[in-house]
């Protein structure tokens, strides 16, 4: 069952043909739908899945190095949101390409879309290192086809930077996973959930953690490794940018959450405060620096890309704080998940809005802009918005910490977001 849900996009990709692709556009919407329904079922039906629980477990020890897939309680909401974003962007693509029958390379685009989707789902359900890495790689490489779809000069350039950074990220990631797996003695390819404890228990742990932090950091738009993001987003087709920013960069975050030694462990062999401060520092640099760069951008989508780097910076900062104060990790974890989902949904809506803005008659533009103000204000975090909710979860923890400075700096990052949103609105007017 879970195999079907995850691999459905892959199977559908096999159906796509060059000749018939214009009649197959419904696949855009059909591919993520079943996963959305199932994940939503787990959330809304009955008691749901508690954070430690798993459902739909697949245990195939004859596949790869032993495959273990599950829908886990901690990630099921993110899974549902991811499926929802892919569905939204998929419906958008379906409508858009139905109107533009002249679109070139449509079959290739649809195939890459479906492969990326498979990878994105897989990352969220894979519980063993080998299949997790498989899906991560699939998502990374397939998304190349989305980035360069238009094959303009900037798109090809962005694609080159994207693939070079991706290969670097994969190398860092693979080193980290290998090293981490080595720390778990008795198994050649252990489960992801065993990694954090093993890393924590080893004196080499900080090095492994650093490799994993930077390896996933490429995907998560960590400051210094983020260069591909502002290049790739504006040149990719609108729905692709939407899922890149909304869903796929969260895969980097999920990687952090699943593999890093966060929280309290019975054995803690090394001190992680350096990496934690590194995360806080890079996070804040990302949060503010991306805003400083983004307000000078000339395209609405570039501004949104910088905004993604900025928002991911805030998440990185939260990660660092949680790493520094393990006793608060569970609360911060909840805040990060809430923040990630809030950002994913709102950012996707804004990206799709940019695309719709170009298509509709001038009379409807004001209406659209009013509608788009909702996700925009959400991102800024005005009172009673999802942004305020997610940030308040984190700020509640911050007030208990002996670090008043972080509270202030984190709070003022809202100004950075506001500046970016204003610039975005200016460009879109």
């Amino acid at each position: 069952m879970i195999i079907l849900l995850v691999l459905l996009p892959l199977l559908l990709a096999a159906l796509v043909t060059e000749q018939r692709v214009r009649k197959q556009l419904w696949i855009f919407a059909a591919a993520p739908l079943p996963m959305l329904l199932v994940a939503a079922g787990y959330i809304f039906h009955g008691d749901g899945l508690a954070s430690g629980e798993t459902a739909m477990v697949l245990n195939a020890d004859w596949l790869l190095l032993g495959v273990y897939w599950r829908v886990s309680g901690g990630l099921v909401t993110l899974l549902a949101v991811t499926a929802l974003l892919w569905l939204l962007a998929g419906v958008y693509s379906w409508q858009e390409y139905q109107k533009n029958p002249g679109e070139a390379h449509l079959a290739r685009y649809l195939r890459c879309w479906l492969l990326t989707l498979t990878g994105n789902f897989g990352v969220l359900v894979a519980g063993d290192i080998a299949s997790f890495y498989s899906f991560f790689a699939l998502m990374t490489f397939a998304a190349y086809g989305l980035v360069i779809h238009f094959e303009t000069r900037p798109a090809l350039f962005a694609g080159r930077i994207y693939i070079a950074m991706a290969v670097l990220g994969e190398a860092l990631l693979l080193s980290g996973l290998l090293w981490g797996a080595h720390l778990i003695n008795d198994d050649i390819s252990p489960l992801l959930r065993e990694l954090p404890r093993a890393i924590a228990a080893s004196e080499q742990g900080p090095w492994v953690a650093l490799l994993l932090f930077t390896g996933f950091g490429v995907k998560a738009g960590l400051a210094g490794l983020h260069w591909w993001l502002p290049l790739a987003h504006p040149v990719a087709p609108t729905p692709a940018s939407a899922v890149l920013s909304g869903a796929m960069i969260k895969a980097g975050l999920v990687g952090w959450l699943l593999t890093l030694p966060l929280g309290e462990f019975s054995v803690m062999a090394a001190d992680y405060s350096n990496i934690a401060w590194l995360a806080i520092g890079l996070g804040l640099i990302g949060a503010y620096g991306a805003a400083a760069m983004g307000v000078f951008a000339q395209q609405a989508k570039t501004v949104l890309a910088y905004s993604s780097v900025s928002q991911m910076g805030m998440l990185t900062c939260m990660l660092g704080v949680g790493w520094l104060y393990p006793q608060f990790w569970l609360a911060i974890f909840a805040a990060m998940l809430a923040f990630a989902m809030h950002h994913g949904v709102n950012k996707t809506l804004l990206f799709l809005g940019v695309g719709i803005r170009k298509r509709i008659p001038a009379a409807f533009v004001p209406l659209l802009l009013v509608l788009m103000a909702i996700p925009a204000l959400n991102l800024i975090g005005l009172p009673f918005t999802s942004g305020a909710y997610a940030k308040d979860l984190f700020k509640a923890v911050l007030t208990e910490l002996p670090q008043p400075l972080i509270y202030a700096i984190f709070s003022y990052a809202a100004l950075a977001t506001t500046a970016l949103i204003l610039r975005f609105a200016w460009l879109l007017r």
Binding site: L64, R108, S175, L178
Partner: protein, 505 residues
Amino acid sequence: MMPEFTFWLPVVVVGTSLLAALIIFALPEAQQRTRSVLNIGAAVVKLAIVAYMVQLIMAGDIAETRFEIVPGIDFLLRADALSMLFAGLSSVLWLFTTLYAIGYLEGSPHRSRFFGFFSLCVASTMGIALAGNLFTFLIFFEMLTLSTYPLVVHRGTEASLKAGRTYLRYTLSGGAVLLTAVALFYGLFGAEAAEFTEAGGFQTLGEGSEVSLWLTILFFMFIAGLGVKAALVPLHGWLPVAMVAPAPVSALLHAVAVVKAGAFGIVRVVYNVYGIEFAWQLGVLLPLAILAAITILWGSLQALRQIELKKRLAYSTVSQVSYIVLGVCLFGPIGTIGGLVHLLHQGIMKVTLFFCAGNYAETLGIHRIDELDGTGKRMPLTSIAFTIGAFGMIGVPPTAGFISKWYLASGAFAAGMNWAVLVLIISSMLNAAYFLPILYRLWFKPQKQPWPDEQIAAARFETHGLLLWPVVATAVFSIAAGLFAAHAFSPLTWATLISVREYLP
């Protein structure tokens, strides 16, 4: 006393190809159908016997053929688990390469000669796989050198004759070094020690300083002799030049026959002559590992610079075969598994890549990488196979290459050789750097000029069936060996079985 049935099994395996070779030589050129039937028949028969012997070995039974040539020196063929790793690879790939070669050479001259030496080459490979001691190994090793030469120069052009001369110069020199080493070894340590035994014959020998000195010197003579075929830097010069050979020959050279014979010889010397534990104590593994690491990086760097598809693949082989050698040097069962399983994995993936290169050349006349633009649309199945092979070489899951790399790197960590992991990671990045641009050309670039020399028009399939289906089959194997790695009948499981036997006291 009537020898047991199993006594003759190894001889029959080698003999099938040998007999096929002799009959093919005798056949007139025009008898194409008979020759094809004979070729395929022999390949299938051999595959069946090898499969049967694998069953025997799983049950713990070992088939052995032994004749005394001169007092003290035996001709010994023995089917142990490690032989079957190599024999299995050869017999499976031989079948596919035969089918491919029949399609590839259709209508070209001298096919009788080609298939004759082709069979002879495979007979030598089987002999190498089954050789039970250094002497027998040497015989087949030299026989392989000689039977491959006519295949390299098959086209008879100036370039191929030149490549053939280079090939002979390198391999005969290597053979001479190996011969000297084997002779010295027999003289110093006797025939008993030269027999391949699981876990090696040396763990009980005293470690007098003179003995270890001789053993060290001989070890590096063995490596020098075998390293020519295994294309260890700086002995790799012949391999890229030999690219002028027809595609099935390149495929066979790179995946099974020559290069692998060298690597397999190194495996035999380290594990079954010296014994891994003893070699480790002797301190010869680290220098070999460093040499392998240099070769891995050097080969990848050179591959980056090539503009011809087959040359790039050739340098990639230089790099990939040293993964096997590196794995052999990683002291510990996991590294061993990685090295041994890569012997198989590299074989199936590289054969796929060379078949693809052959298909591009034969169907569209494409030889250079920059001519590949937009080929994905024209030849989708071949291009998918190429993509699978390329991702396998980079080590992206779920291909077979990922399994190799994962075990090699885990083995390096387990052996405390963390630098080797760095070598593997850098090499993977280099592999990505020279394979991804090709994939980009295949799938994303539009065709910008007419095909250089379109030979086979697109009909129901993109090219001749005999060229296409072997590629598809080996590509499927490349995925399956990775995807079902943990299954009971995977290469990984077999390599694990061998590794367990090599390390048990």
